[in-house]
Amino acid sequence: MAEKEATVYIVDMGRSMGERHHGRPMTDLEWAMQYVWDRITATVATGRKTATVGVVGLRTDETINDLEEENFSNISILFGLGQVLMPDIRKLREIIKPSNTNRGDAISSIVIAMQMIIEYTKKNKYKRKIILVTNGTGVMSDDNIEGIIEKMKEVNIELVVIGADFDDAEYGVKEEDKDSRKAENETLLRSLTEDCEGVYGTLEQAVSELDIPRIKVTKSMPSFKGNLTLGNPEEYDTAMTIPVERYFRTYVAKPISASSFVPRSGTEPGSQAPVKGNAEGDALASVRTSRTYQITDESAPGGKIDVERDDLAKGYEYGRTAVPIEQTDENVANLQTFAGMGLIGFVQKDQYDRYMHMSNTNIIIPQRANDNASLALSSLIHALYELESYAVARLVTKESKPPMLVLLAPSVEADYECLIEVQLPFAEDVRSYRFPPLDKIITVSGKVVTEHRNLPSVALKDAMSNYVDSMDFITTNDEGQPTDDLPIDESFSPLLHRIESAVRYRAVHPNDPVLDPSERLTEFAHPSEDMVKNSKSHLEKLMSVADVKKVPPKTKGRKRQRETEKPLSGLDVDALLSLEPKRTKISTENAIPEFKQTLSRAENIDAIHDAVQQMAKIIETQITHSLGHSNYDRVIEGLGTMREELVDYEEPAVYNDFVRQLKGKMLREELGGIRRELWWFVRKGKLGLIGKSEVDSSAVEEEEAQEFLAPN
């Protein structure tokens, strides 16, 4: 469990906060609230009841607090400590506006915030924090400041003061022509925070750092506790056993997941505008799922009947055979295993290919508080390290779990030692596709060619080498020294943080459009400008030597490759085909090849029309005679082939006419009954009208093509 938190935000709402300074487009208050909302919504996003927040307004028109003294006027408790929920955010958004006064003492507001925290947290364990955001222009009194500091330390409250245009030498902000009272106030607040060992900063920095994603620290739990063995201790006296524990080293953090909702039935369906930010709070109803089970039954209408879940047994598919497994021996198909990590053998580090890593990584450390185990594991770690070796082990994390093969590498740091573990592929995990070599070409007859348009020339290799060498990715350590590290610590999951910040932003700004990802998230989307500049000449050279040409989209079609439509021998089969007497009409059983061949022989548009007519007839007959969906795949293949060919031949109109008619006939149920399912397949395969974007000569606009396939 994360620690309980009590954080009070003091927001300066004085009249001067409504002004704009130094050419900023937003008022000081709007600027300050960027920071405050970000922090508050970050807390709300955790959904934790124990992460409590309070909000105090400083220099408000009214006075709402328990300390009824002159000193504490124009300070209002806007939200008492507690969990912040959406309605509270909406309410606070309403209230937090610049007031009509500049009266109200910031130091007093800190006292009120302290009071709130002390009352709320009592003596319990809490992380206590006060965050004051102000432009420092009001009147502040340093009466009894020592008392405040003492109390702050006593109850252990962290004080953070963030000021608009506060001077900060470290960050490099200095306000010119600073008002003397503001300068005094800044000095007072600075010494106060320093005395409380708090944080004092300028708002510019605070806002600029908002887009640095905050990483959620997850406490790791062991995923395995057991014995690392060498040999079998059950059988041999010579077996080695070291009790160890296993924890995640890497684990992909997933973005928060969305749930499915539908607009509540009460909401007017006419109001198509999305319920942005869900201002009414409750306009969405959640979605339930219910599952039914069906089996094929030729005799039933529609070919399917429903069966009860209770009549079904658990089972598996073996090929197309259903294999039921009786409840009594449900585990019969599971391999019996016992937990443990057994070493299989050792491999040389330089013989291992890094791309064999199959999973996230884990660390293996000795069992807690077991000095012997720690000593024993240390010797294994160092032996591997010195021999530049890795260990291969069989790991079963729990009884009955399937075994994994893992690779163990030593990791030795100044004050930490462990094994790093990653899963290795099994035989079945390797798909042995073969690809031709990249540095030579072997011809069909077995001759080796080293000069070819697909092989780089010496000049290209040199140009590539120079370019690669000019594009070193520079990483530096804290001292600015170059390092050999990958920028892992500075890279943040773009999707995770973008969704998270979009949700928080939408909660506060329900009517704004979604924002682009912050620069920080896309920092690594492109090479840095410096690098591009440095390598420019090498890249230009490389490009000119490489002479890469983009294939124009037009000729991308299959017809471009006509010359390959010959067998390896180069025999002119087309000539043989034209001699075949039978092939004047397209036959049903060999429709697709014959359709293609007829088109390729076609010398005029009439011949194409004729071929399409014949094919259309075949397809319609197939639909009409289809029992249920039995012919649908053939129909889709036929349609798809027609469409593809006619796009290639740039004859969109012929296809469009046909598919329009076909749609009508299908939906009017003229082709052997209800064919809605087939229509759905047509839509899924995107076999609708050929639009202008596909073939220039098409008379069909894109909207019409989309409309044609739209659900109805």
Binding site: S223, R249, L284, A313, N372, M404, V422, D439, N590
Partner: protein, 628 residues
Amino acid sequence: MVEDSYTREEENYEDEELGETSFKSVKDAVLFAIDISSSMLTPRPSPDPKKHGDESPASAALKCAYHLMQQRIISNPHDMIGVLLYGTQSSKFYDENEDDRGDLSYPHCYLYTDLDVPSAQEVKQLRSLASPADADDDVRQVLEPSKEPVSMANMLFCANQIFTSKAPNFSSRRLFVVTDNDNPHADNKGMRSAATVRARDLYDLGVNIELFPISQPDHEFDTSKFYDDIIYKTSPSDGEAPHQLEIRPRRSLFSNVPLEIGPNFKISVNGYLLLKKQEPARSCFVWQGGETAQIAKGVTTLMSDDTGQEIEKSDIRKAYKFGGEQVSFTIEEQQALRSFGDPVIRIIGFKPLSALPFWANVKHPSFIYPSEEDYIGSTRVFSALHQKLLESEKLALVWFIPRRNASPVLAAMIAGAEKIDENGVQKVPPGVWIIPLPFADDVRQNPESTVHRAGDALNDAMRDVVRQLQLPKAVYDPSKYPNPSLQWHYRILQAIALDEDFPESPDDKTVPKYRQVHKRAGDYILKWAEELKLQASETFGGSVAATSTLVKRGAKTEAAGEHPSKRVKVEDSVSGVEDEVKKCYAKGTVSKLTVAVLKEFLHAHGRATAGKKADLVDRVEQYFEQKF
């Protein structure tokens, strides 16, 4: 505890590999066409000296088909496979009957296994044909060669019809022709040209013919005599004997994604998954009310919680829980949030290979290979980059978006050299691997751990142990380790489906070779254990006294050592527990032991420790029963 084996990645969509065209279903159908001639049926010595016994090419091909069938049931459960024998005396094609001989469409073509997702029965039938020695006469009769020659045109059209009707709209359809006859219609020009026309039909139908030629002892197979007119594309497995044939469809994970080497400098590449964890298919529900058991398909309907009415997918709005309510986005907004641009592999710089830490990994890699489809010249540029990365031992850092709307990752791109095995067959293709890196969000903090650094003598002792136990050639070779639980799972399913006896015990190649460890390293381990004892007592003083008094099971107990905080409650050492439980078992009083002792014991032996006391007692007793 976290379950991390068999968790199904949400990224299963990676399996839905992209087809060339969108309307086709991404499935593969393989039809074997095996020539059954007397020379194909004559046993001959295997070219592989390691294999004993003579085997006929036909039998080798059938065995190969059988193994492929078994393998695909596991790896590609939705793909089809069939076996067509040609040149047989008898003929069989769907409903056609041998008796009305005159009307046979495809004489001397015998469709032994129809093209389909195989059933258990078909697996069994093919197995019996592949090992005819154990088969009955009916089966052997099938393999009777015909006296008159078979028309190749007819065989090819027969295959055409099988593909047309059984595998319509498949994105991949392949006909594997296994034969030792390189010139079937040497003296009949008409038959020959009919065959080339039928081969062209198959090409136009989108069926790839792959030839597995078998040279005869005194005659090298010459493709130029006939098959160069039949085959349109060279397949990578050309020229290999059928028992080595490599038969997987080459499907791409993504195709023609631009590899952006620098601003405005792109080439096109295809991506493949060469390494992917193979999982057993999910369990399903089986209905046994009919004649044959059948899988019940689950249908999910969505309903509004509010009205209970069924709703359309398009009505659904996604929303996030926030501050006790839902923060919602329209579908377009939701899509916009997930979009970070078009698919791309963009190089943002280079680093030495050594910069990639062992731990920086989150999943399996992708493999890329150039394609000339979008950019002409891609292959030569890719080759230059590949060679440079290998030579300079560098990696490229890339921004990687594999598919539209896929979440971008930062990845290390490393070159992989081609690897050839001792038979000259490619084991690892040349190409480039993309290894997704963890983001800062994905890196976990190391938990606290006490470090007691071992002294030199102890490290030396361990080094001797490690040196003794290197794997062959000091490399990990995945092909030596089939996944034992996957194999067992399907082995059992097959036994149930065919009503066979269950196998006794699994053939688990991942179990360490204990005897070898004992023989080769046993003495070194004992030495190490001595040294450990010594260093422990030097470092920690008397705290290990309890263990050092034990005699047997030297090494084991040394390291097992202590667990002071908990042990106090239970016993003073693991071996104490060990002995105590053992004694109780001998006396039959295991149930008298405390739950804590039982759990301690079970945990030390890798057994589950969940459940009530009775369960624990059962498990302990089981342990001893299995052992003795």
